[in-house]
Every structure is written in structure tokens, then in C-alpha cells.
């Protein structure tokens, strides 16, 4: 079980130079296995730095990171092994494709793990299925494909390592609404079938409110909000005060409140807004 536990984690860049900057400031949190987490915050709030600590790409300036109970920075070997357990998909991952064929590119991760070719083959096909990459594309060069397809191939390349935790940094950036929706759909069904933890770093409040079970909000290198969407959106004003957008449905709910109509419960999706308004309508009729 790949539970993540972070204890008093701090990280600074360019230590000892005039450019020294605190990216993470004393962060502690636990993510039990199997959660769907949305990690939110401004550019520069520390989101990307935080997730790069989960697979030891960055090492803490202070504090510890445990994955499955093991301090991942205790040795070179744990630092290497954690990369198989915690898969990280970077922003615009399509720019990291390099193999001649789609198949070989997806197989790169499993190959680095030293698996047998039959095992690799099984994983490549499984991962392609999860990421929505058709097997017809396997022998094509990734370079000839569309941006959306490349993105899926890159995601499949990480899923093929069968990580217990899958982290994606802005997986829908730059895609059209349809493409974004499909990728998020794939990620949700991936998590349902494998039971892995999925952590999505995003700017898109609407998407995260809809699909995440838990939202973590960072601001200025610190953890400022952490809870279920219900909990987090019970204080929409606080999110706004942090300079972040709230979902469109929450904006409408807030505007209604200003006009004297209190929907009384947290609203952060279309359905919740619709039902809350309809309830008030019923109440008025009775």
C-alpha cells in the first residue's frame, strides 16, 4: 500500500544565493492509498515542488517523506525504487516522447525497471487501454500524432510502470474542452479499476470540484486548505481571498446569497446548484 506521509517538509531553491526562495514551508500531510486528490494553488504556490518530493526528484531541505512507510530519502536505492511506486506525469508530457514507435515509448518505463519482455508487453497494452491509446497506433511514430494523442501516450508511459500513486501536473493544459473531459474520464476509470491513488495538480477548480474526493490548496509555499470538496467549498470566500477562482456554479451561488437567497449548503457542481435551487423552489411552493 503506497500511503504517502509528509512530515514537516520544507524546500528552498538556490540556497546561499541572493535568489534563495522558499518553495515549501513546513508542510505535513497524509494521503492514504486510493484517494483521488486535487492539488490546487497559484503558479509558484509550491504545487509542483510538492509533488516532485513524492517521488524523490527533489529532496527536502528539511522534513521527511514516507511512501508505504519507508523514508524515501534514506538511501540511493529507496530514491530509485520510489520512482516505480510513484509515477509522475509532468506538464506537457508530450514533449518527452522520443522513441520511434508509440509502443516502444510506452515500454520505456517498464524496461528501466528490468522486467521481462512478456511482462512489458502486458503492461504496455494495459496502460494503453487505461490512457485511451488505441493499439492501432502502436507501430506509428509518436511525432505524427495529434497533441491530444501524444498526451495520452505520455500518460500511458507512466501508467505502464504500474505505480501505486499516479501524479499528473496539469494533465489537461492546452487541450480543448472535449479532450480535457476525455482525459479526466480516463483517469477516473483508471483509478476505479486499479484502486491506485491519483493526485492531479490543476488550476481548474470546476474540474477538480467535480472529480476529486479531497482538495488540497497551497498558497505561498504553505498548506492553507485541506478537506473534501464539501468542506473546502463551505468557505468559498476564503478561496476567493486567496485569489483563486471558485467553480462557476459556486460563483452563481455566492451571487444568489448576496441577493438574499441562501442555498445553505456548499455548492460546487452544476448538479448541486440545480438541486439546491429546486429545493428552495419546492419549499416556497409548500
Amino acid at each position: 500500500m503506497a500511503d504517502i506521509k509528509v512530515v514537516n517538509l520544507s524546500h528552498s531553491y538556490s540556497i546561499g544565493t541572493p535568489f534563495e526562495k522558499k518553495a515549501l514551508d513546513n508542510i505535513s500531510l497524509e494521503i492514504p492509498h486510493g484517494q483521488m486528490v486535487g492539488l490546487l494553488g497559484h503558479t509558484g504556490s509550491g504545487k509542483s515542488s510538492l509533488v516532485q518530493h513524492f517521488n524523490a526528484l527533489l529532496q527536502p531541505t528539511a522534513g521527511q517523506v514516507y511512501v508505504g512507510g519507508v523514508d524515501i530519502n534514506s538511501s540511493k536505492i529507496t530514491r530509485r525504487d520510489v520512482k516505480h511506486q510513484v509515477g509522475l506525469v509532468f506538464q506537457y508530457p508530450e514533449y518527452q516522447l522520443f522513441e520511434e514507435t508509440v509502443y516502444k515509448d510506452i515500454a520505456f518505463g517498464p524496461q528501466n525497471m528490468g522486467l521481462s519482455s512478456s511482462e512489458i508487453d502486458e503492461r504496455v497494452r494495459e496502460a494503453a487501454g487505461f490512457a485511451g491509446v488505441s493499439e492501432d497506433l502502436f507501430e506509428k511514430s509518436p511525432l505524427e500524432l495529434s497533441g491530444g494523442q501524444k498526451r495520452r501516450i505520455a500518460i500511458a508511459g507512466v501508467i505502464a510502470m504500474r505505480p501505486g500513486v499516479l501524479i499528473l501536473d496539469e494533465p489537461t493544459a492546452g487541450l480543448d474542452p472535449e479532450g480535457s473531459r476525455l482525459i479526466l474520464q480516463n483517469l477516473c476509470s483508471y483509478r476505479r479499476s486499479t484502486g491506485s491513488t491519483v493526485i492531479i495538480v490543476s488550476h481548474n477548480m470546476d474540474d477538480m470540484a467535480r472529480i476529486a474526493e479531497r482538495l488540497i490548496v497551497l498558497a505561498n509555499a504553505a498548506l492553507v486548505m485541506d478537506g473534501t470538496p464539501e468542506e473546502v467549498f463551505s468557505e468559498p470566500e476564503k478561496i476567493r481571498a486567496l485569489g483563486l477562482n471558485v467553480p462557476q456554479s459556486t460563483q452563481i451561488a455566492l451571487a444568489l446569497k448576496e441577493k438574499g437567497i441562501d442555498l445553505r449548503e456548499p455548492v460546487f457542481t452544476h448538479e448541486l446548484l440545480l438541486n439546491a435551487i429546486l429545493r428552495i423552489k419546492e419549499a416556497a411552493v409548500c
Partner: protein
């Protein structure tokens, strides 16, 4: 009001492609208006943009910009200085190591005298709110700042039209807001014609006209209120209407009767509040 860009049955196929990316498209853009062009990836949005300043010329049909035929080579420079073009990736359109040198690039190419270039550079940076960064290195700026520098870079040509091809696709919400408010101001206060290509619906709310492209031709066009209220069409085009329209639409199915032409959050809430209170 007169039409400043005119597409007449334009066909275009990229060399090596099988399918046409523009299939006989006709459209017209009014001088001084803010026009948003929407559509899923591959609908021909970028090809339309590239026809507007003669980076691409039609295989057949005709594109006229400020009365000039883009297929006529002798008009090339005149068209390009009149139609400023901003692209998706700000890193790939900034040519110099210092912000002000980059903004000076276009007027330098046009052979403008030094003193006037200086003035143009400063006033363009002022217009996009980046004057205080004029001595900065572009690679140290945020995405939104870089994109505003890129806008200043085309403003320095003093174009009448500015075409932006998904300028916010790579930006964070703050950067998006800054860029959109900058171009809205350019249109409303400086009376420039703005053509914005995007797939973020919320960026089109203030547009005068929305054009939805599908497979190389126009699927719908009109004021945003009108286009967005056609929820079926939006779904079909892989776009999604703003929540304000969607909620009113769904409430109508539950017995309300709201007009679907409201895009603002506040106006939408007001209508719902009024309806609930009158019961």
C-alpha cells in the same frame, strides 16, 4: 461599420494532408469589433488565423484584408503591418534578450527612424501594462507577462487588427485574465479590431460576435448570448456553454421560463432570485 476582413469561399489544404482544413469558408469581420473564433482542435481555427495575415494564402477563393487581396505578393508587408499576430507559445515568438529590444523588432524591420521606434516601444509596453519590465530578460517573466510582451511586440507595428491564436492556452488563470483584459481594452478603448481564437468559453463572453468552426467551415455565428444558448450545438461541437446558460436551461426544464441570453453571473443570479421570490 464596414467589413475589414473578408473570406470568400476559401479552400485550403496543407501540403501533404489528405483532408482540406478549410472547405469553402466565408466570413466577414467588422472593423473595430471583438470577434471570438471557437471550435475543437482540428476545426480549422489556426488556418483561418494564418490566412488573415497572408502566412497562408487560399488554394481557391479569396481573402481580403483592409481591401487588399492577400494572394497579391506586393501587398504582403502592408497586410502584415496591419494585422498583428500573437501565437500560443510566448517563448517561441520573443526574439530578443531584453523586453524593449524585442518590442522594437517589428518597427526595426519596417525601417522606422530610431526616435520613433523608442516612442512606439514605450507606448506599446504602456498599453499592455509592462512598461516597468522593459529592461527585464523575457525568460524570467511569467507566462502571462511574456504573452503581454508578445502583444506589445505586434502593437509596435501600429496595426489596425490584432489576431490572437489561442494566446491563453498555456497560461494560468491569472495570466489568462491579464491577457484577456488587455485585449478587451485594446478593442474598446483603442478601437482595434480583435480576433481571438480560443476554446475557453468564458473568454468570449464580452465578444461582439462568436464564430464556431467545424471541419473547416462555419457551424454557427452571432452574438455570444445567441450562440451559447444553443446548448445542443455547443455539445455537438465539443464545446461547453457557460454554467450561467446551462443552469438556466436546466431550470427551464423544471418549469421555469428564463431567457437564455444571460452570460453574466450577477445577471443570472438576479433572474433566479427574482423568479424564486415572486413565488
Amino acid at each position: 461599420m464596414s467589413s475589414i476582413i473578408q473570406f470568400d469561399h476559401v479552400h485550403y489544404k496543407y501540403p501533404g494532408d489528405e483532408k482540406e482544413s478549410l472547405c469553402g469558408i466565408s466570413l466577414s469581420i467588422e472593423e473595430g469589433s471583438f470577434v471570438a473564433v471557437l471550435g475543437r482542435n482540428g476545426s480549422g481555427k489556426s488556418s483561418v488565423a494564418k490566412h488573415m495575415n497572408a502566412i497562408l494564402v487560399p488554394d481557391s477563393g479569396k481573402v481580403t484584408v483592409c481591401g487588399m487581396d492577400t494572394a497579391d505578393e506586393s501587398n504582403l508587408l502592408k497586410i502584415r503591418r496591419n494585422v498583428g499576430m500573437v501565437f500560443q507559445n510566448p517563448d517561441n515568438q520573443i526574439v530578443a534578450n531584453v523586453v524593449e529590444d524585442d518590442v522594437a523588432f517589428a518597427p526595426e524591420n519596417l525601417g522606422i527612424p530610431s526616435a520613433e521606434i523608442r516612442e512606439r516601444v514605450d507606448s506599446s509596453l504602456e498599453l499592455v501594462g509592462m512598461l516597468e519590465y522593459k529592461k527585464h530578460a523575457p525568460h524570467l517573466l511569467s507566462g502571462g507577462q511574456k504573452q503581454r510582451v508578445a502583444i506589445a511586440g505586434v502593437l509596435a507595428m501600429q496595426p489596425g487588427i490584432i489576431v490572437l491564436d489561442e494566446p491563453t492556452a498555456m497560461l494560468d488563470p491569472q495570466g489568462r485574465k491579464d491577457v484577456i483584459s488587455t485585449i478587451t481594452r485594446l478593442c474598446r478603448e483603442n478601437h482595434m479590431t480583435v480576433v481571438l481564437i480560443t476554446h475557453h468559453m468564458d473568454e468570449c463572453v464580452n465578444a461582439d460576435e462568436v464564430i464556431v468552426l467545424s471541419a473547416g467551415s462555419v457551424a454557427a455565428s452571432g452574438p455570444p448570448q445567441e450562440v451559447f444558448s444553443d446548448i445542443a450545438l455547443m455539445e455537438e461541437q465539443g464545446l461547453s456553454s457557460p454554467e450561467t446558460v446551462k443552469i438556466l436551461y436546466d431550470l427551464n426544464r423544471e418549469g421555469f421560463s428564463f431567457p437564455l441570453t444571460t452570460l453574466g453571473v450577477d445577471a443570472c443570479a438576479q433572474m433566479i432570485a427574482d423568479a424564486l421570490e415572486s413565488r
